[in-house]
């Protein structure tokens, strides 16, 4: 019972798209790849739109430009670790090169 309750807990964290090109195909791919490593369900929320974090196509259709604030939600047993890993991708600006001055 209590185990079940823990595994269904939804954790969330706000992130900002900081790389100058926004969430285009390559970072969306990195994000979805990372999300798929975890058991938890991962969703990205931007205003009224919600996307499955494990689907590159859904992530892309958020059309998130540089500066967009997103909420990452993770639901499942490894939600905390998943959020951390995904949050760090945003912090590292998806390792975009030539992006230091932006």
């Amino acid at each position: 019972m209590s185990r079940e309750a823990v595994s269904q807990e939804t954790l969330s964290r706000e992130v900002v798209v900081a790389n100058s090109q926004g969430l285009h195909a390559r970072p969306a791919d990195m994000l979805a790849r990372e999300a798929r490593k975890w058991q938890s369900r991962i969703e990205l929320v931007a205003d009224a739109q919600r996307a499955d974090g494990k689907s590159i196509l859904e992530v892309l259709t958020l059309a998130a430009e540089a500066g967009t604030r997103l909420v990452v939600e993770a639901t499942g047993p490894d939600a905390r670790q998943a959020l951390e890993a995904i949050g760090s991708l945003f912090e590292r600006r998806f390792n975009e090169q030539n992006d230091q001055e932006s």
Partner: protein, 579 residues
């Protein structure tokens, strides 16, 4: 039902099955899979995914060795999209549960994703390209060599495309293509002119909408209102069918006008000539009772062929028109293209402002061999009937004199070789720039006729690019500045005793017929489709009344006022004649 508003460029209404051209001009019909074939089709889909994967991997590897990992990453992303679990589930379900043909499922599903980008600004909208790329790879793998092109259609369709080039438009099969609509394009674009010439109803400049269609569904195209209706409901279809029937009976009534002269109620004979682009349009004009061809555009010769047209190409086209006209005048306008559309190797530097650049007579005078070839053919055709030549976009007297000199030189050449032509072939110029209007009293002494091209005259007078959505509103034939220039031109021509006509969209719109007659115009050159209506108006009005209308319009301050007034006058007239 989805109603889309675009720009009406070629009149007529049509109801038919949509044929969607993808970004590469291929079509994806809406087709269904038999239940028993679902597994086979799913296997075909899986094989296509594998094939597309190999293709993308090949590209990735090639780019990686050439440019490095950073660039190859984009192909990794394409692979990820292709193998996106959601996408795969959706595709499988579309085939298994909805029995969609895999091609159709791929196109429909991926376009739904791409649609998320279409209303966003350009910078992000570009990202839809990645999704379209994946769509293309999959379709290539699915269709293999069986991709269908416009050339292979076998039943009537309404073509929906991102854009059609003038040559694609010119090559449409008129028996099967009942209309077309495009996301890009503006009024007065060459594609629009070609569509009107072909008498195919057309709407352009709709903006992004192809993500909403897949082909095969019914579509209504209203080329009068510039409206396209996707998946229309029964009621709308019924209403349009009624309209089609009504249009037929009006057409029949107007058809009765064919052999009647365009003569006003107070006995003034008006010449109504046709504007044509293709030689076989001459028949369309004759069938509607034209008095000749007032504007024969010759650009199609350059646009429909991959090579430079020869003298014989020109001559064959002109001869066909001259012979069809059987003694009626045929005014041939020399090449009116911009440098950007020419086929020559020596393409000048890209122009920042092509409308103000090297085009029309300026280009002809720069490319003398091409110009001479065309003039030779026109002169040879002049031996066969009443051919007249006209130079476009003349803005200085020097250009006119130079053009006449080249013509004289070509005449001499033909005479030397004993080739027949009419040495007295009338030579005219188009009045399309404010400069030409202001100096017309000078020009008029050196020409046999003038033709006022309102499309360009409006554009240059009001400094508006009619293809630019932001300012297209300012492009208005009713602007008092335009009316004054027209009035002045017609006065100068009348005083000099030189015939003047007006071609361009203004003369083909019945809203302006009374105004133009009132300003003193006695020759109108209009698209074939407009001949009956314009003739009908001419036969219903008196020049005396038209003068009053023109005087009132000329005294007005703004385009809006003029437009409201002319509309009102036209409605009154219609109420009288239709009743």
């Amino acid at each position: 039902m989805l109603k889309l508003q675009g720009i009406a460029v070629s009149p007529g209404v049509t109801i038919g099955e949509a044929l969607v051209l993808d970004a590469e001009g291929f079509r994806i019909p809406r087709r269904f899979v038999e239940r028993s074939a679902v597994d086979t089709e799913l296997a075909r889909l899986a094989a296509a995914v594998a094939e597309a994967t190999r293709e993308i991997e090949r590209n990735r590897d090639a780019i990686r060795s050439e440019l490095g990992d950073q660039y190859a990453a984009i192909f990794e992303a394409h692979l990820a999209m292709l193998h996106d679990e959601r996408l795969q589930q959706e595709l499988t379900s579309a085939v298994r549960d909805r029995n969609w043909w895999p091609e159709y499922a791929v196109s429909r599903t991926l376009r739904r994703y791409a649609k998320a980008f279409q209303n966003l600004d350009n910078h992000i909208a570009q990202r839809a390209h990645d999704i379209y790329d994946v769509e293309k790879s999959l379709l290539r793998a699915l269709l293999g060599q069986r991709r269908e092109t416009l050339a292979s259609i076998s039943q009537p369709v309404v073509v929906l495309a991102h854009n059609l080039t003038p040559s694609e438009t010119a090559n449409l099969d008129r028996r099967l293509v009942k209309g077309f609509a495009t996301e890009l394009g503006g009024p007065g674009s060459h594609t629009a002119i070609v569509a009107e010439g072909l008498e195919i109803p057309a709407v352009v400049g709709i903006g992004p909408f192809l993500a909403d269609v897949s082909g095969g569904e019914p579509v209504i195209l209203d080329g009068n209102q510039g409206v396209v209706i996707l998946q229309p409901d029964e009621e709308t279809i019924a209403r349009y069918r009624q309209e089609l029937e009504a249009a037929k009976s009006v057409a029949a009534r107007l058809g009765a006008l064919r052999d009647l002269p365009a003569e006003t109620t107070d006995g003034v004979r008006v010449q109504i000539t046709g504007n044509i682009e293709f030689p076989d349009e001459a028949e369309h004009c004759l069938a509607r009772g034209c008095d000749g061809i007032g504007l024969y555009r010759t650009e199609f010769l350059y646009l429909t062929s991959k090579r430079e047209p020869t003298e014989e190409d020109h001559f064959a086209a002109y001869r066909a028109v001259v012979e069809a006209m059987a003694g009626r005048p045929v005014v041939i306008r020399t090449l009116d293209l911009g440098a950007d559309k020419m086929l020559t190797e020596t393409r000048p530097e890209e122009e920042r402002n092509p409308c103000l650049g090297l085009r029309s007579i300026r280009l002809s005078l720069r490319q003398l061999p091409i110009f001479r070839t065309q003039l030779r053919a026109i002169l040879r055709a002049s031996a066969l009937g009443d051919v007249r030549v006209m130079f476009p976009l003349v803005s200085t007297i020097v250009e006119l004199r130079q053009a006449r000199m080249v013509l004289a030189d070509v005449m001499e050449d033909l005479a030397e070789h004993g080739i027949a032509f009419n040495p007295k072939m009338p030579v005219g110029m188009m009045v399309e720039t404010p400069a030409a209007v202001m100096m017309l009293d000078v020009f008029i002494k050196e020409v046999d006729f003038v033709s006022i091209g309102t499309n360009d005259l409006i554009q240059y007078t009001l400094a508006v690019d009619r293809g630019n959505k932001e300012v297209a509103e300012l492009y208005n034939a009713c602007d008092p500045a335009v009316l004054r220039l027209l009035s002045r031109s017609l006065d100068v021509a009348r005083e000099a005793g030189v015939p003047a006509n007006v071609c361009g969209q203004m003369s083909g719109s019945v809203m302006f017929t009374q105004l133009l007659l009132g300003l003193g115009l006695r020759q109108l050159s209009v698209p074939a489709s407009a001949i009956p209506e314009v003739k009908q108006v001419c036969r219903s009005v008196s020049v005396a009344d038209c003068r009053v209308i023109a005087e009132k319009a000329l005294a007005m301050d703004g385009a809006r006022e003029v437009k409201a007034y002319l509309r009102d006058q036209m409605r009154r007239l219609l109420a009288q004649t239709v009743a």
